[in-house]
Symmetry: D2
């Protein structure tokens, strides 16, 4: 797939009625997805926005010329004119919303994490399966041009059998730490890296996890249980050893990288450079960094919704599934358990958490 997904597949959509999409959650990520649905995808229209916060849905809907703004999410789900929904609410509400949307017969795109317990993940998966609706989860690296090209090369055998992997996420700055739930670094940040490691080690599954974490950005929040820096080592069932690493604050920008080393070679992904401009001056060589996820993953964010809406229209299976979300969540929960117990945790010992 090209990085410019929106350019393709437009032929069919021009004659079919546009897909009517509902957006749930009008926050920062929701607003991006709303703009994508309203403006960037041919054959798709933003039919409704819902957000319980007073005025939030209305403001976004007005901006985008969307006809319907709701504070009651259930009314969006029960609207028969809506074909599919995008859920971009806080993480802990995802699973219930997936279940409700699926039961209402809507195809569901849910931001990561789909759930924060395995029981909830199973409920969401079951609900979609029982309703016969498509379910896709927002693992954006899978739609980034570099990571996608890496996977294509892995599938073509370029690295042989993966032996050592690495994925890292460093956010550019720490928002108000008082508002961040306790295990967020595993459940919401590293969940990307856990999925990336599975994506870059296709067919293999994790068997054991060892995690270390600490409050290094804001040590004053350590006592409240907020961890902002973490390293997780994962052993996969094909022998590969992987490291996932995250920090809530990189002063230089937004840093997402991946690496796969195997019997046949190595692939590296990720580049914090903002543009191809390089400057040379009395202080040396310099370049600007990306500081914003919606810059680094702009095209990936569009591509994942393009792929989801295309799946809905064509009836095919989604490329990122509820099962993928559950598998990444299991690594996150094992990491939490490893931090709590101070030792390695086997994935098969994980109870429903």
């Amino acid at each position: 797939m090209s990085p410019h997904v929106t350019d393709h597949g437009a032929v069919a959509s021009a004659t079919a009625p546009p897909l009517a999409m509902g957006l749930v959650g009008a926050g920062r990520m929701g607003a991006f997805h709303a703009r994508t649905l309203a403006q960037r995808l041919p054959g798709v229209r933003l039919a409704a926005v819902a957000d319980p916060a007073p005025g939030a849905a209305r403001a976004l809907a007005d901006e985008l010329g969307c006809p319907t703004a709701l504070t009651d999410i259930d009314r969006l789900f029960s609207d028969p004119g809506i074909d599919a929904v995008v859920i971009a609410t806080p993480a802990r509400t995802h699973a219930d919303l997936v279940v409700a949307a699926a039961r209402a017969g809507k195809a569901v795109y849910c931001e990561k994490p789909m759930a924060v317990s395995l029981a909830d993940a199973d409920r969401a998966i079951d609900a979609a399966r029982e309703a016969g609706v498509q379910l896709q989860v927002g693992f954006n690296r899978r739609y980034d041009a570099g990571f996608r090209a890496a996977r294509a090369r892995i599938d073509a055998g370029a690295v042989g059998t993966p032996q050592l992997l690495r994925s890292l996420t460093r956010d550019p700055n720490l928002a108000d730490p008082a508002r961040i739930p306790q295990w967020t670094i595993f459940l919401e940040t590293l969940i990307h890296d856990f999925d990336t490691l599975r994506f870059l080690n296709p067919g293999a599954e994790p068997v054991e996890v060892c995690a270390m974490a600490d409050a290094l950005v804001r040590p004053d929040f350590r006592d409240r249980g907020l961890l902002d820096t973490a390293v997780v080592t994962i052993r996969f069932d094909n022998g590969a050893l992987a490291t996932a690493e995250a920090s809530f604050q990189a002063v230089y920008g937004y840093d997402v990288r991946g690496e796969v080393f195997g019997s046949g070679g190595m692939l590296t992904m990720g580049d914090a450079r903002r543009t191809h401009l390089t400057s040379y001056g009395p202080d040396g060589i310099s370049a600007d960094c990306v500081t914003y996820d919606q810059d680094l993953f702009h095209d990936a964010y569009v591509a994942e919704l393009a792929d989801f809406t295309d799946s809905v229209r064509s009836g095919r299976a989604t490329a990122v599934t509820g099962e993928d979300a559950r598998a990444a969540l299991a690594i996150a929960l094992a990491s939490v358990h490893s931090v709590t117990t101070g030792g390695p945790v086997r994935l098969d010992a994980l109870k429903d958490a």
Copy 2:
């Protein structure tokens, strides 16, 4: 400006009626612009496509759900429902079409080159001025994120006074040489580089040109006057010495680069890498190249139409003008003259060509 121009300015457009755009020329570049007008720009709609080739406008219009397809370009110009036009026909037709569109009261975006003689360039500029319509020319580097960032740094004084500049364009492969007009490498390819050098040396104007060119890709076409490889040296009135370089065939891909060196430092622009993926294998380190202008300049192509349509809506001056097109053309014509005479050519000695 962000590389993702389409994300901005959408607030106003949601309430205003969309800008009705006409596309003239349904070829490769025209089709890209048509998709941009139809799908990528909020507040803009593609109202008509015109192309004299039988079926060409119709196929593109159908693909994009555009209501009107014409083989008669004048009918598009005379349609009172059209606010502005994009001209993407063969180079030698541009000036006449700009004049006709302007006289019909349409704002005009014209692909480069706007004209192939100074007299035609003047006619086009005059027509737009007399009609009071906006005129913008398709110098895409000016909308590329890296080149824009370079200009911003130049304006901020980062390179001091420019002393040495370079701009190059190498196309990935040579189309049918029999169909390429004689001086195309100067008038259609290097025209980009001439504009880029002016863009990177703001306020300065060229005074002297020395060009060398040859038929190295297809020496069998040398006798017919087709030059496929060229180097042009330009002296500017601020003393800066610049080199523009082009080839019709780079086997590795599409290569566009710029460099400004001055009293305060150097900036380099351009990167032929396709993604941030790097591969390491028994044969060393490798990465993929961009091979297609619509990949390398995808965002720039969208950004220039976004900026043009925004200019039309807001009534402000366009950022790239007919005068810019004329100034780049003058360098191209001086280069032709230099090749013909085998010596340097002063810009002020150029007669209307």
Copy 3:
């Protein structure tokens, strides 16, 4: 220090008698050091080579015009004309040879690892201290220009407090696995990375280690206990979390990299490129890899002996000490223990091993 250490300090040496050096161990690394002593260091001469293997010392001495070749190492140590020795024998012989050399009054440069048990490390350190001779250990990264520059920037505060570190070593190919002792990946390969992590996190010491390792290059040697792939996570007493990673076989070349991320920024070190040549062809962009440690660390290998011999001449303390060697060894032994027990190991729980 410049990368070209041998250019400096030559003024004094021209008038003083040259430092007489003895080389113990005429293998691959010993031969490199012998050439450095004989040819690359002003004010230094190679006075004797000793190696128990018949003919090995003789061949090397003859090549380099060295007057004395011995199979009896003790005779080299007891030669009063030798000022200092370089020990480049197999790892398990190092500690005893350091002790013997020190007791003979020779300043000692010993290849890593200085010892494979803490008791041996302590014996070596004690022997040097009691004899009042200098002792330096061969951690070459500390003399590589990029790693040195990184440390200088860390000391200048450029990364603030280190929070996340990484060091990796991947050897280009696996020699005869039957000849590799069981824990070599920790004791001889990762020992470099353990030292590097201490070097890049100055003043901090490790408190806890969690290691995972496997036989992925040669799974057929897993039963004999040979581990060829390993990841070690280390918690330091300043909170920093570090990862050390090694493989015995990277098909693309010799790969050594480092990374320090902290409250103030990030530094990355290491580049597998062989030269600054980049090639562009129909298959994309490519460059050659370094495949040989004596290419990648050529200048560092010379610089460490230059610094050692300068220490000996000037009487100052060595820059890399026996205590540094012991500290890195402790991490290696903790890693072995972690692999054996399948859980994290605290450094303070390590008994003399």
Copy 4:
């Protein structure tokens, strides 16, 4: 050849008597070469230093333990104990010294430019031929690892037929402009680039030159004829078009790059980075620049003397010849002529200058 030439060929030299070298000119470059001869090359010794400046030869000889220091260069040439000489005096003295040394039967290594007129170049070439001594000229790029690897790939056919070439030299800062002879930028700086372009376009010779130059760094010296910024376009007899570019002052450091583009691909050479360290901070990504030719070309400077002395010992032809020096000089003189006349100059029209 490896970048570390001194590691090779040492076997033979250990038994042969060392080659006795004389160094003429104890300035900055002479001092570097003296250290190479005294300390970096096995089988070579620095037997004498000569410099007419009082005390200069003595200070350098003392530093390096060289037995003989002279102010009379002829006495060095007439010393029968000297096998070969290195000439590192001011450019305008080179040709006469080559002639004198050759007539004295010494093999000669001469810094670039070997001569500043074609007649002088011919005299030097003739003198060496008549004396049957070897003559090598100091074009250091030919011994740089990246440029050498480029040439190897060109010889292997990787770029097909060269079509567009570029070579540039930018010095880090302008020394006292009052002491720089008028045409230095062509005769002493760009002479490197002219040779590099011939090196990268093997077998081809220049046919036509068009030069532009100006005093942009120090416009106050324009009236005295000092040009500090220049661009030269060269047409070769295989059709290739080349650009050579120089500036006397790059505030960011020492910048030397090359590029060859041909029918089969492109090679780029040159990297102003000092080490492989990259820094990331609140101001973006940064790296240090090389600011000193003796850092950038340290290994090349050693390699060229290693190759020369090896040529002398083995009796083989030198790899860089007097004819190479003459050919580069011809381009320089044609450039001077082009600047003077304001037009293109054909090489075959060049009279002895």
